[in-house]
Symmetry: C2
Subunit: 455 residues, 2 copies
Amino acid sequence: MATKPGIPKGTRDFSPIEMAKRNYIFSTIKEVFHRFGFEQIETPSMENLSTLMGKYGEEGDKLLFKIQNSGDYFSGITDEELLSRNAPKLASKFCEKGLRYDLTVPFARYVVMHRDELTFPFRRYQIQPVWRADRPQKGRYREFYQCDADVVGSDSLLNEVELVQMIDAVYTQFGIRVSIKLNNRKILSGIAEIIGEADKIVDITVAIDKLDKIGIDNVNAELLAKGISLEGIAHLQPIIQLAGTNDEKLAVLKEVLAGSEVGLKGIEETDFILQTLKGLEIQSEVELDLTLARGLNYYTGAILEVKALDVQIGSISGGGRYDNLTGVFGMQGVSGVGISFGADRIYDVLNQLELYPAHTTQTTELLFVNFGEKEVAFVLPVLQELRNAGVRAELYPDTAKMKKQMTYANNKGIAYVAIVGEDELAQGMILLKNMETGEQQSLTPEALLKQLRNK
Amino acid sequence: MATKPGIPKGTRDFSPIEMAKRNYIFSTIKEVFHRFGFEQIETPSMENLSTLMGKYGEEGDKLLFKIQNSGDYFSGITDEELLSRNAPKLASKFCEKGLRYDLTVPFARYVVMHRDELTFPFRRYQIQPVWRADRPQKGRYREFYQCDADVVGSDSLLNEVELVQMIDAVYTQFGIRVSIKLNNRKILSGIAEIIGEADKIVDITVAIDKLDKIGIDNVNAELLAKGISLEGIAHLQPIIQLAGTNDEKLAVLKEVLAGSEVGLKGIEETDFILQTLKGLEIQSEVELDLTLARGLNYYTGAILEVKALDVQIGSISGGGRYDNLTGVFGMQGVSGVGISFGADRIYDVLNQLELYPAHTTQTTELLFVNFGEKEVAFVLPVLQELRNAGVRAELYPDTAKMKKQMTYANNKGIAYVAIVGEDELAQGMILLKNMETGEQQSLTPEALLKQLRNK
């Protein structure tokens, strides 16, 4: 007997119920993307390693899943090289292709490859799995879906405004209350500039983030320990203790960053986004949050992050503006701004808050019990008519015991069971049983059709 | 400057239009699957090589894309082995995982792994890409989607009947006229049995298939050349020249195969399927076709194939009954029957016959031209309301030249353009232009909303 088969660690099977919930998530997001004029593309799961390598840092290169060349994968490798056993160096000789690590680099490659067919600004979305040879842990998988929307080829801040609207529309649709955090890379650069410590941005945001927990004195002590001058720390005080409304925060920042051109630019951008949003019906709170420092190595303008208010979980969406998306592939001057929805976390949030609409996991609506050949002959045309009318219906295929058939209906969460036994057959009637209430009705085929079609 | 990036041979990018068409195909098929009570699952792209190897024959093993182990992939391989450069043998040392080659083996693995959670008969469908290191050629890709529906754990022939109904429903929905070819492995076995040549099934079907082209004499000559006895060929004459209705064909077969138990069983099964279908409203012709000999190494009962009537192309769907689906993973006695829809070919057929509904590729319905800050301030709330009402609408994000914005609308196939310039702004009106007819209307925001929502 073969051993029970398994799947590679960090990967998952999705059951019908999980798929129904995931489909609900993706179709809700897609619906919003469409309303905002975004169009879907797909790129191959495999990219040339030359496309992927060097785009995610040294650590990222190691986390790429590489695909062994077909045929004689030893060809072109000398005996000496083989015996050197230099795994990282020889990887690109054994393998020309790798699985995509994210959707951004393949998208940049797509834009460059298809530049002549595309109309800019190009609003694209993409929902596909990505693969990372990360150490698997709770909530972290080696295969997971990303769900990205980006606009490329437009510098307009209206794109940032629309991304916030889109986030708001998605989470309003889900019924998840969120806080949308907004920051700007240029403000952070401005802060670093005025204290003369360009490379200390992360240290500063990390320290500020601890204010609530450790208090102002400890924050200052930490900044000092990180090598920031006393003068710099003095300059930072209004920023560390920044509070109040977004407008109040911006007013303070404007004063503190008066000497930094880039800082003022970041304030102006943020102000535009926040003021424009004021006139629109945003359900979610939008908060200027200077501690937001995600993706500092690629975001160049706005930085966005979304926190669920009613569940303890990391950010459930994030994004921002990145200039020069396609520069690495030789196409300069194309700015992008985008947002990524974390499907796995949204899944968990919806589960915890029990926010899935009832119809999400509804599969078959009606099961006909199978009592044998004659009854089946009566049932089949009725079944066909129901399906033609869009009703999800099944006939149990085998003449099994009633109990087994009812268990099947129960396990599958089927709402109604239709019974046609000898008596019903004689009368040309169908006994319809509501599986939730236990209620039974005797109906003609026409009445059954009418009743179920109206649902 | 970097060289223009490419993608691995045999893989494809899908543009927004291609995606819209593909989504139409998949959602149509899914809708039908749901009506028949099938539930979706997904399995990981990667499976352990131990799950995949040996399931597709020696040739299949070579066509598996293998994923190099992470970290030190040399570990566990001796210097001697390395220098042997035995690529096929060492593949499973360098690689523990591979990309799935089809959806059937992962499904069998899924059923065995999750047997305790599943309720049988289990009706599952699965739409995911598969990968094969085949030589790419026209219409053959290294990454392509499969779209499979199977019922496992039921021997009932009603499943075969439903699969035919499902095929019919899908193609009726698409508007593609098809012929559904039906055969039965047991009939073929019976034929081989009565002429005493069990291993000649394929030779016989291939020869019979040529009847129309080369005539009866040449068919017989070919059979002789393939080593079939003169007596056997004499026996085969009524089968080679089988014609008429399905019932007529079955009557002839019943006589010829009277001495073969398995053959008669195949006839009985086929007869049941065809008789049962007669009572239902099938749009497509269903034809008993003995030359249909696909998947002879795994199908054990019914064999199905679908041909498009109005386009010259290979089969666009295929399937059949396979006993002992899960035996290879240690779970015996589970029979399966399924059907696979060929998305790429369906795509081509719909293109050639121009059968895509107009709304398929409709993206954004309305584009607001961007005339500057003041106009945008007026437009944004209107846009928000339109989107809330489900209208797909955009605002051109930059204050670009009118011509550029209209080109954008044209290229994206946007149906309406809304213009709010200085005059319109002063009057609080919106000029709506129908991009197809050129017609223009001046509307209040409320009237615009009403008009577009009603579409």
